[in-house]
């Protein structure tokens, strides 16, 4: 199995095979001696040339993070044979989504659909645990969709609005 892995923005080519409980691992063409077991769901014990690591995985609807010790890495995994491997270019053009950074309640909606917004302008206020967080527009543009409504509960990663 071959994977394209992206860790904190850096790409790796990982070749991984398992036969008779033994692993065959190549990272960017280099042979790496590994042994791995799944300790429980989302927790991996890996030995790399005898050095022991415990890896924790966090997944949300939006992304995956891996913890090596106490350091958290953003991780993306792609099977190059998969069709769904086109990169999502993020060049500031095109629509941008405003996401809820954490679960909470929408307490204010500052702008309506089709309104023009400046970069950094407050669009929505999300309240959780008595703290209010203003979600700002990532770019100058027009609010193409306003999904958030005052009084609604939202989850982390929910799309609140789309600015184009």
């Amino acid at each position: 199995m071959t994977y394209d892995v992206n860790i904190d923005g850096k790409n790796y080519r990982l070749e991984l095979d398992r036969a008779d409980g033994r692993w065959d691992c190549r990272l960017d063409g280099r042979d790496v001696e590994i042994d791995a077991i799944l300790a429980r769901r989302d927790v991996l014990s890996i030995l790399i040339a005898g050095k022991a690591y415990e890896i924790k995985r966090e997944r949300t609807a939006l992304d995956m993070h891996l913890w090596v010790g106490s350091v958290r890495y953003a991780a993306q995994l792609r099977d190059p044979r998969s069709l769904r491997s086109r990169a999502s270019a993020d060049d500031g053009k095109g629509p941008r989504k405003l996401l809820a950074p954490m679960p909470g309640k929408i307490v204010r909606v500052f702008v309506k659909e089709d309104a023009e917004v400046e970069a950094g302008q407050g669009v929505v206020v999300v309240e959780a645990m008595k703290m209010q967080n203003e979600i700002k527009s990532p770019k100058k543009g027009v609010v193409r969709k306003m999904i958030a409504a005052e009084g609604a509960n939202v989850n982390a990663g929910d799309v609140l609005a789309v600015v184009e």
Partner: protein, 506 residues
């Protein structure tokens, strides 16, 4: 002794009190709001009764509903925990009228300590040292200017009914005084319904050290040593320890004796805490008395070997303190970390949500008082305190090392926590040197974080792990997740639908 105690609280402190009840052979009764049916305290108690909607005013602050649950369950006492109704004299009154014992002081001593200016008037009579200033609210801006000139700038304006930094203003010079007074008064009026504001000399970057006391109903009052609580953010304590790195036996005895005088002057019974400000010359000044069990009580329990909740219950039942002041011997060192659901990378903003993975520390010298479990969704409605991790050792160095070790074992997945903040504090040179004051944490956070060694090796390990996970644990790859809060999200649904939508937007 009581047969059944209702705990009028939630979270880790409710679990803490339930455990004490079980140890003492007392039945425990939990209460809960709409969003807390699945909370740990409801699972742990012998009985549980629903109060009402999530809003605290309709549940954990609702005296009538709590007393109705107490009557229905036949509880003969109520433990209020901390926060919520714990320092509400009206609640203590209502319990007494309903014939239910309140685990805490009398309503009268709560009332006396509830107003900072009234407390100050009483305590001055008892010879308690105060920060120089007025013991009653200032009548006019001219009077404020006169007082400020006499005690010397900088001065602090404080709301008499205040707490948590509301209605507080630091004033460096006379020309700022008038506008600061007006804004402090209007903020005090808005926050507490009372615009009384008094003036104190500002002690710049003081330490915040508090003394635990216990008093029975037979006239015995003892002190149980201090807690250093200088590590704070936005006037909220983050890490506490006992003993304080700067308090020696003589200072402890002097502070303890003052604390006992304060408690006696207030006719105080049960567990209480006297807070002091300490200046750079180690002069200490009375700040206020907290008439309840404190969040940070475990550090005192570890260094004294006493169980404060057991003792609170015994005192309420009319028992005498089973020991004298000279029997209280401090041993070792304890440090507590308050684990909050908040995001260190987003200015410590609250981060509720579902806990998808929870790995727990254990081993020598580790105590964990927690209200969370894996699979539980942290509600958005309450204080973000999840758990307290306490490290104990023969000395400060060992307690610190054990805590760092345990923090590395502790993992809370699915939500953000401030665990990384404690690694930073506990590895900091100034913390190790014991150089603490209430400005310490802001200074630490202003410096760039150096504690994250993002080396290439670890990133390669992560890359390999990503692939191994895909081989060994692929079932979770398409798991439709996770952060369900109240199930009314704007845009939930399947992974595939979401990707379809995302692509449609590109």
């Amino acid at each position: 002794m009581f047969k059944k105690i209702l705990i009028a609280n939630r979270g880790e402190i409710a679990v803490r009190v339930i455990r004490a009840c079980r140890e003492m052979g007392i039945q425990s009764v939990a209460v809960y709001s709409d969003v807390d049916r699945a909370a740990l305290h409801v699972r742990k108690a012998d009985e549980a009764y629903h109060l009402g909607p999530a809003a605290a005013a309709e549940s954990y602050l609702n005296i009538e509903k709590i007393l109705a649950a107490a009557k229905r369950s036949g509880a003969d006492a109520i433990h209020p925990g901390y926060g919520f109704l714990s320092e509400n004299a009206r609640f203590a009154h209502a319990c007494a009228e309903a014939g239910i014992q309140f685990v805490g002081p009398t309503a009268a001593s709560m009332e006396m300590m509830g107003s900072k200016t009234r407390a100050r008037q009483h305590m001055e009579k008892a010879g308690v040292p105060f920060v120089p200033g007025t013991s009653r609210g200032v009548e006019s801006a001219d009077e404020a200017a006169r007082v400020a000139k006499k005690i010397g700038y900088p001065v602090m304006l404080k709301a008499a009914a205040g707490g948590g930094g509301k209605g507080m203003r630091l004033v460096h010079a006379e020309e700022q005084l008038r506008s600061a007074l007006e804004s402090a008064q209007s903020e005090a009026q808005r926050s507490f319904g009372d615009d009384e504001v008094y003036i104190e000399k500002a002690i710049v970057n003081p330490r915040h050290i508090e003394m635990q006391v216990l008093a029975d109903e037979h006239g015995n009052t003892v002190y149980l040593g201090e807690r250093e609580c200088s590590i704070q953010r936005r006037h909220q304590k983050v890490l506490e320890e006992s003993p304080s790195p700067i308090v020696d036996p003589d200072m402890r005895r002097r502070m303890g004796e003052v604390a006992v005088r304060v408690a006696q002057a207030a006719g105080y019974t049960n567990a209480g805490t006297i807070e002091f400000l300490v200046d750079a010359e180690k002069n200490f000044y009375f700040l206020e008395m907290n008439t309840r069990l404190q969040v940070e009580h475990p550090v005192t329990e570890l260094t004294t070997g006493l169980d404060l909740v057991h003792l609170q219950i015994r005192i309420t039942a009319g028992e005498k303190l089973p020991f004298k002041q000279e029997d209280v011997v401090l041993r070792g060192h304890a440090i507590e970390c308050r684990i909050y659901a908040e995001d260190p990378d987003n200015n410590y903003f609250p981060s509720p949500g579902k806990i998808t993975l929870l790995l727990l520390p254990s081993g020598p010298g580790i105590r964990r008082d927690s209200g969370m479990y894996e699979g539980w969704t942290v509600p958005i409605d309450y204080d973000p305190l999840l758990a307290k991790l306490i490290g104990y050792g023969t000395d400060r160095e060992q307690a610190t090392a054990r805590l760092v070790r345990a923090l590395n074992e502790y993992f809370v997945g699915g939500i953000k926590t401030n665990i990384s903040l404690f690694r930073r504090i506990l590895n900091d040179k100034e913390f190790h040197a014991g150089k603490l004051d209430t400005g310490y944490l802001d200074r630490l956070l202003a410096r760039p974080s150096a504690d994250v060694p993002r080396d290439e090796k670890a990133a390669e390990v992560a890359a390999i792990a990503a692939g191994v996970f895909a081989v060994l644990d692929p079932a979770t790859e398409t798991r439709s997740d996770t952060n369900g809060v109240n199930g009314t999200g704007v845009e939930q649904g399947s992974h595939w639908k979401r990707i379809g939508r995302e692509e449609a937007l590109q």
